[in-house]
C-alpha cells in the first residue's frame, strides 16, 4: 500500500529532511470493518488481527469476528431472506449486475488489494479482479434462467398438472477459499445469492481485506442489507458455531481444510444442512451450475386438470 510519490523522494535528496517532511503527504489508513446486516460494525469481540502480505509486510488490522458476530450475521441473513428470495429473478439479476458495474468503477482499489493479499503482480491481480467482475455478470444472467434449466413440467400419468420449480434453500454459510481472496470469494458467493439465498461469508483468514472491501461495494449496489454478511477472523473459530447453528440451512466448505471440513460436516448434520465439500476448483474457468443447484430445493406442485372426457362434465 505504499503510495509515496516518487518525485517527492527525489526532491528530498536535494533539500533537508525537514523540508521533505513538509512535502510528503501522510496517507489515511482505512479501518477495515465487518459487514453485517447492511452495516459496518467492528467485531463484537473488540479484537483484531494483523493482516500481512505474503512477505510479511503489515497491511492492516482486520476484525476478529466472534461467535456472537456469527450469530448476529445469521439473524441478519434470516431477516433478509424473505425479501430477497421473494424478489423477482429479474430484480436479483439487475442487482447482481449492479455489483459488477460498481466493481468496475473501483477496479484499481481491488487490483491493489488482491496484489497485496496474494503477492501478485498488478497485471496478474487485474486478471483476477476482471474475472471476478465478469463472474458477477455470469451469475446476474443466471437468476432468471436457472428455473428454466432445472425446473419444468412433469408429464404424470393422470389428470394432473405437475410442475417442479427450484427454490432457494435459505441461509447459507460460505467458507470462502483461503487462497483466492477475491475471485474465489466471488465465485462461491455470487451463486448462493443469485437464486435468492442469503449468505454469511467467512473471508479468507490470511487475506481478508478484498472481502471486506467487497462489503463496501455490496452496500452501494442495491443489494439489500443482510443478504450478504462478511466476517473475518479465524475460519475454524467462526465456522464452528455456524456449522452447528440450527437456523443455517446450508454450508459451503470451500475454505476448510480436510480436518476442519469433516468436523463441520458432522456438526452440520444436526439439522441436515446441505453441505458442499471442499474440492479443487480452477476459479479462472467458466463455472457450471453446480454451485447454483447446490443451494436449491425442488418444489413440485400437483393440481387436478379434470379429465378430458367427451361429456366435458368434469370441467
Amino acid at each position: 500500500m505504499s503510495d509515496k510519490p516518487k518525485n517527492t523522494e527525489k526532491t528530498s535528496e536535494k533539500t533537508t529532511d525537514k523540508k521533505a517532511e513538509q512535502h510528503r503527504r501522510l496517507s489515511v489508513f482505512k479501518t477495515y470493518k465487518l459487514y453485517v446486516g447492511g452495516k459496518f460494525p467492528r467485531s463484537e469481540s473488540g479484537r483484531v488481527y494483523e493482516v500481512t502480505d505474503p512477505r510479511g509486510t503489515w497491511l492492516a488490522n482486520a476484525p476478529r469476528a466472534s461467535r456472537k458476530d456469527a450469530r448476529d450475521a445469521v439473524v441478519a441473513a434470516r431477516k433478509a431472506f424473505g425479501g430477497w428470495s421473494g424478489a423477482t429473478a429479474y430484480n436479483r439479476g439487475q442487482v447482481l449486475y449492479r455489483v459488477a458495474e460498481m466493481l468496475e468503477g473501483r477496479k484499481g482499489q481491488f487490483v491493489q488489494e488482491v496484489a497485496d493479499a496474494e503477492g501478485l503482480s498488478k497485471a496478474k491481480a487485474a486478471e483476477q479482479v476482471e474475472a471476478a467482475i465478469d463472474r458477477w455478470v455470469w451469475y446476474a444472467g443466471w437468476t432468471d434462467k436457472i428455473a428454466q434449466v432445472v425446473g419444468g413440467a412433469n408429464p404424470v400419468a393422470g389428470p394432473y398438472f405437475n410442475l417442479s420449480s427450484p427454490e432457494p434453500t435459505g441461509v447459507v454459510t460460505v467458507l470462502a477459499p483461503q487462497e483466492s481472496s477475491f475471485l474465489g470469494l466471488v465465485s462461491v458467493l455470487a451463486p448462493v445469492i443469485a437464486t435468492g439465498n442469503t449468505a454469511v461469508v467467512i473471508a479468507s483468514e490470511k487475506s481478508p481485506l478484498p472481502a471486506l472491501s467487497l462489503g463496501e461495494v455490496l452496500a452501494t449496489s442495491d443489494v439489500p442489507g443482510g443478504v450478504v454478511n462478511i466476517l473475518t477472523g479465524g475460519t475454524a473459530e467462526i465456522a464452528a458455531p455456524l456449522a452447528a447453528h440450527q437456523d443455517v440451512n446450508a454450508i459451503d466448505l470451500a475454505g476448510a481444510d480436510e480436518a476442519l471440513a469433516k468436523e463441520l460436516e458432522i456438526a452440520a448434520a444436526d439439522n441436515l444442512k446441505r453441505v458442499v465439500r471442499p474440492q479443487p476448483v480452477d476459479y479462472s474457468a467458466t463455472p457450471g451450475t453446480d454451485r447454483l443447484t447446490a443451494f436449491l430445493e425442488t418444489k413440485t406442485v400437483w393440481h387436478p386438470t379434470g379429465a378430458l372426457g367427451a361429456s366435458g362434465s368434469s370441467y
Partner: protein
C-alpha cells in the same frame, strides 16, 4: 367518455414533455455502423398519428441497400460469432442499461411515432424492451445450458421484419436473441414507425457494438420482401399479418433459410360464471383496448357464459365509460390514436360490415379529436360465429361478444378459428382453468389475467398465427443451428 362528462374533479391535462426527445428532420439507413442515404435517394415521411404532424423524413431502403446491409452483416458475422459468449453478453447488458437510462426519451418518441398512450410506452413497452435485452444478454454465455447440446452455433445473418404496433419491443424480441446467439442482423422497421429503431442504432453506437452487427433499414413492404428474398440471409423472422406471413413461407420454400412467423390472432377471452367479475372486466378491457386493440394476441372475442352475460355487459359498459381517449402524451390517456389512416380505414370497414351483418354496435359517448386517426372503443353484441367480426382480425379497439352455455361449447367456439395465438380463461376453479387450457389450440393462454408479457416466457401461435416461439429459452432455438 370521461373527458366529456367530468364534473368537478376533472383531471387537468398532464402532458409528458415532448422536449425530452430530439427528433432530427431526417434520418438515413443504418448500415455498417453509419447512417447513409438510400442508393436511389428515396425518402418517406413519418407522421404522428395523433396529430398527422410530420415528425421526420426517413431514407427508404431499396434492393441495393438491402444487399449492402446484408453484406455488412455477413462481414460482421465472422468476428461477432467468434467472440466469447461472455463478451457478447456484456454488449447486450450495455444495451439493456442504456435503454433503461434513455427510457423516458424513448417512451415519448414511441408515443409520438406510434400514437399509443405514454402510460403504455412508459409502463409496458420500455420496461419490457430493457428486460428483453437483459434476459438474452444472460443467455449469450450459457448456450451450452440451454438444452440444445454443447456449443450450439448461430445461423448467420438474420433478416428481420417487424410491425408498427410495438415498434421497439418487437425490435427487442428480434435483435436480443439474435445477437445473444452470435448472429448479425438486418432489421426492417414498419414504414409508419421507423424512428425508435433508428434511435436504437444510436444506442448500439453508445454501447460500442461492432459495426455491421446491427443494420436498420426503414422501408415499406417491398424492402421487407427484398430482405427476406436475399440469398445470403440465413434466418427470417417476421411479425405481422398472416397474409404476408404466408407469402414469406412461399418465398423461402426450397431454401435453407430458417423461419419464424408471429402473425395474426383472434383471441378468445372466456369468462365463466364463477369468475372474479371485477377483475374479469379489467382483463377484458386490457385484453382488447391495450394499445387500441392493435395487438396480435388481443382478446378480441369475448366468450361469456350466458348466465352472467347481462351482468357482465353492464359492468363492462360502465367501465368503458371511464376510459379516457385523447392526446397520447397525456399521462392520463387510456386510449390513444390508431397508428395510420390505412389501419383506421380497415377498422372502420370491418365495423361497418359487422353492423351490416346485424351485430349490435355500442360505444361509450366519446368525443374524438379533430385531427389524427381515432376510433372509439367499440363493443359488438349479438355476435355469432358466422359474423365477420367474430372471425377476422380487426386489429383495433373492437370487441365482439359471444355467449356459451357449457365449457365444451366455450372450447369449441374458442378453437373455431383459423388463428391460435392467445386465449383467456376467467374462473375461480383451478381445475377448470387447466382443463380448458389443455383443450385450447392457442400458443399463449392467460388465466385470470390477460396480455402479460415477460422475456422469460415463450410467445407464439398455433395454426395460422404462425410458427416458432419468441422469448424464453425456446426463443433461442430460432437463432441456433439446431
Amino acid at each position: 367518455m370521461a373527458s366529456a362528462m367530468d364534473s368537478a374533479f376533472a383531471y387537468a391535462p398532464a402532458p409528458e414533455s415532448r422536449s425530452v426527445v430530439d427528433i432530427a428532420p431526417s434520418y438515413g439507413l443504418f448500415i455498417d455502423g453509419e447512417f447513409t442515404e438510400a442508393a436511389d435517394g428515396k425518402v418517406f415521411k413519418t407522421v404522428s398519428p395523433s396529430t398527422e404532424e410530420v415528425l421526420s423524413e426517413v431514407a427508404q431502403a431499396g434492393e441495393a441497400d438491402v444487399d449492402r446491409a446484408v453484406k455488412a452483416a455477413r462481414r460482421a458475422f465472422e468476428k461477432w460469432s467468434a467472440l466469447p459468449g461472455s463478451e457478447r453478453a456484456k454488449y447486450l447488458f450495455r444495451i439493456a442499461r442504456i435503454i433503461q437510462e434513455r427510457s423516458r426519451e424513448l417512451a415519448v418518441l414511441e408515443t409520438l411515432d406510434n400514437g399509443k398512450p405514454i402510460k403504455e410506452t412508459r409502463d409496458a413497452d420500455l420496461p419490457l424492451v430493457a428486460a428483453h435485452f437483459f434476459y438474452y444478454a444472460g443467455w449469450a454465455d450459457k448456450l451450452d445450458h440451454a438444452g440444445f447440446g454443447s456449443n450450439p452455433r448461430p445461423l448467420g445473418v438474420a433478416g428481420q421484419v417487424i410491425p408498427w404496433n410495438f415498434p421497439l419491443l418487437m425490435l427487442a424480441w428480434k435483435i436480443a436473441p439474435a445477437l445473444a446467439t452470435g448472429n448479425t442482423v438486418v432489421l426492417k422497421p414498419a414504414e409508419t414507425t421507423p424512428l425508435s429503431a433508428l434511435f436504437f442504432a444510436d444506442i448500439c453506437r453508445q454501447a460500442g457494438l461492432p459495426k455491421g452487427v446491427v443494420n436498420i433499414l426503414p422501408g415499406y413492404g417491398d424492402t421487407g420482401a427484398a430482405l427476406v428474398a436475399h440469398p445470403d440471409v440465413n434466418k427470417v423472422a417476421f411479425t405481422g399479418s398472416t397474409a404476408v406471413g404466408k407469402a414469406i413461407a412461399r418465398q423461402v420454400a426450397g431454401t435453407k433459410k430458417k423461419v419464424t412467423l408471429e402473425l395474426g390472432g383472434k383471441g378468445a377471452n372466456i369468462v365463466f360464471d364463477d369468475a372474479p367479475i371485477d377483475q374479469a372486466v379489467e382483463g377484458i378491457v386490457t385484453g382488447i383496448f391495450f394499445n387500441q386493440g392493435q395487438v396480435c394476441c388481443a382478446g378480441s372475442r369475448l366468450l361469456v357464459q350466458e348466465s352472467i352475460h347481462d351482468e357482465l355487459l353492464d359492468s363492462l359498459k360502465r367501465r368503458l365509460a371511464t376510459l379516457r381517449l385523447g392526446d397520447p402524451l397525456d399521462k392520463n390517456t387510456d386510449i390513444g390514436a390508431i397508428n395510420s389512416a390505412e389501419q383506421l380505414a380497415r377498422i372502420s370497414s370491418l365495423v361497418e360490415q359487422g353492423e351490416a351483418e346485424g351485430a349490435e354496435r355500442w360505444s361509450p359517448s366519446c368525443e374524438l379529436p379533430s385531427s389524427g386517426y381515432w376510433f372509439a372503443p367499440t363493443l359488438f353484441t349479438n355476435v355469432t360465429q358466422a359474423h365477420t367480426v367474430a372471425r377476422d382480425e380487426i386489429f383495433g379497439p373492437v370487441l365482439s361478444v359471444l355467449t356459451f352455455r357449457t365449457p365444451d361449447e366455450a372450447v369449441a367456439k374458442a378453437n373455431n378459428s383459423q388463428y391460435g395465438l392467445s386465449a383467456g380463461i376467467w374462473t375461480e376453479k383451478g381445475s377448470r382453468i387447466l382443463a380448458v387450457a389443455g383443450k385450447l389450440r392457442a400458443g399463449v393462454i392467460w388465466s385470470n389475467t390477460f396480455n402479460k408479457f415477460d422475456p422469460t416466457s415463450p410467445f407464439g401461435g398455433y395454426k395460422e398465427s404462425g410458427y416458432g416461439r419468441e422469448g424464453g429459452r425456446h426463443g433461442l432455438e430460432a437463432y441456433l443451428d439446431v
